[in-house]
Symmetry: none
Subunit: 209 residues, 4 copies
DNA sequence: TATGAATGAGCTTTCATTCAT
DNA sequence: TATGAATGAAAGCTCATTCAT
């Protein structure tokens, strides 16, 4: 699925990129504080360092900003994941590392994840599929890792189980961001990583030391 | 923590209750479709079957509707849970039943759960704590069940692990609602219940038949 | 000019009188605090000790309350004036006493005078003449006193001068109420009375002891 | 005491000045007819020649219009006074001229004076002091004139008497506007000026030709 | 006669979007 | 390409008034 294009009046591609970067940065910081709906286009323009008129040279509607922001956040998460993660090792160790790394990325991009998490539903029917697709791609990353492990005989999981497990990992990672009001009081990030990894791997039926 | 009171101009308590029920019902159906911010007070009034003036006899601000809605949804979920769930049995069977029951309740109240899930963040600083507190109470329900199992020697879990596990169950239940765009294509509810229960209990390290 | 009648649905004249008294009392205290426009009919009803429905049994419109209030305040001032003032003596002493008495009445009914003063303009075209007429009657009182003095040879004033002088006295009395923010810091009531009387009588050209 | 600043969204200072002038002009004409409370912001915008949105680019709240109006009226009165009045001559003639001039200014700005007079009380607690302060400054102008006369030995007045006298002049001037319903039937402006000057100066005790 | 729930016109204010400069 | 003044639809909310009980 191709990126949805957000048309700009300005022709200079490099300029568009530059301005949109400023825009996204400004918008994220605002959405963090007050959410998409309570943020005005004027505020976005100001936070981006240009005028309201200029803002509209690079987007058509306010909602475009949200799309751009969501798009960017996913790219950011993906990028950080791909830089350090190997999806085809197929060992427990690599699996654990992948989870730990994902959780740390979520932790670093906590605010961003939260924004996307809470505001994605405000996307129009048009843009939503593009964003959901990106989410599926990320889930797919975990599926690949699990698949490799299964192929290596490390785990024994059906295809269905793999998919669900991948979703679980993805959501349990985000959970660190969207339930921080509860979790951060109870655990440090590293404790959270260890506990979750442990629960995921061994289940709870019986404890082995 | 006591309920936050939403003051009404109308004195007749029974009438207040009745009208607010109509209001909540109307509002949920609107919030489902367009979210809190895109729903106008006039629409809420209309969907509730009375005029805008009357609406404001029963609330002070638009945000009160959201609070009332969230409050109601939690009560609804809790009520259904408490009716059929026994938190002190402490057997695997009762644990499984609790999960299955919770997942089914989420399934029935899918739209409501989704609404609360997506709109709770729009609550004011005032009301948010009350709603979060209700959420913690629900998590507490799962903690109790787990605790009973641990005391019966069925599971071996530390206090920390119990808490996290309870959060996981809670979120994985909600997940059936907020990721339905992906999950409902893959599983029926009963499959989802069985798979999740299985993953939660046995972990994935090794499969036993 | 006859009193403008404010029609009531209730027939019992004594009841109408009683309820309107409560109403006027409540309304004055509210108008003092927030002015006519910022006071709601509900507030008036509450302050009067009955329900909004009942309020409308005794008036037709909100503006009726204002008329009733203005009417009452004038009656109050007049009554207090007439009780203690003799308009036909025609001596300087009686003139001075009249002024002093008037100023003291204004002082006692300060808030009421202020209300009438500030809100009278909100009366409808219908009621305004009745109220202005009452004002002219009060001015007439001072005209009579001055006339008596002139006839006694105490003052030497033309008819035109008498009329203007009467207006001046009337306004300079009210001034104690509507400029209290400035005057009360500078003078006590008695000082104010003495100074004004002195200025009015002797003028300022030359001082005699 | 510095002017209270009314913030505008529009940056161009000259434009702000121009638009606010249009606004003030439109608002005064409306306030004259129906008073501040019965005038809507839309009406103000329309009378000013721009849209409601534009109105709010130049003020924050409706009350700002009232403040701007009151502020302007005082400036207008002051300006006209200062242009033609000499406060330090200290002769009877200059005193008489000052009064006559002031009364003529009130006459010219009759509607404006009336508006300010009747609506000032609707100013918020915030702005009121600024406006009252302007009023005191105007009173101060008369104090100066009187002071000069006293120093020249023309009048014999204590400090207290000067202050009160200045207030009297100020109010008796405004009276020409706010009691015009009565006074204009009785006198022409010039008659009013002459009569008032005469009464103020000589008092009424005895008449000298 | 007294009540107070219901009404909806109408208010102030905001803000996404446009367009002349 | 950049600006920001102008726009007006539409939002949240109030309150005088009515009328069934």
């Amino acid at each position: 699925m191709k990126k949805r294009e957000v048309p700009a009046s300005v022709k200079d591609e490099r300029l568009v990129k530059k301005r949109r970067n400023e825009m996204i940065k400004g918008a994220i910081s605002l959405f963090k504080q007050k959410g998409f709906h309570r943020t005005t286009t004027r505020e976005i323009a100001k936070a981006s360092g240009f005028s309201i008129g200029t803002l509209y040279e690079y987007i058509r509607q306010k909602e475009d900003v949200l799309y751009l922001v969501c798009d960017r956040i996913y790219d950011e998460v993906r990028e950080r994941m791909e830089k350090d993660i190997d999806t085809h090792h197929g060992t427990i160790e690599s699996f654990k590392l992948a989870i730990a790394h994902y959780f740390r990325v979520v932790n670093e991009l906590q605010d961003e994840v939260l924004v996307m998490y809470q505001e994605a539903k405000s996307l129009t029917k048009d843009s939503l599929p593009y964003v959901l697709n990106k989410e599926l791609q990320m889930v797919g990353m975990f599926e690949n890792i699990l698949q490799a492990c299964v192929q290596n005989g490390v785990f024994e999981l059906t295809e269905q189980e793999i998919q669900l497990f991948a979703h679980n990992i993805f959501v349990l990672g985000q959970m660190w961001a969207f339930r921080r009001w509860a979790l951060h009081k109870m655990y440090t990030l590293e404790e959270y990583i260890e506990l979750q990894t442990d629960l995921l791997l061994r289940g709870i039926l019986e404890k082995r030391s």
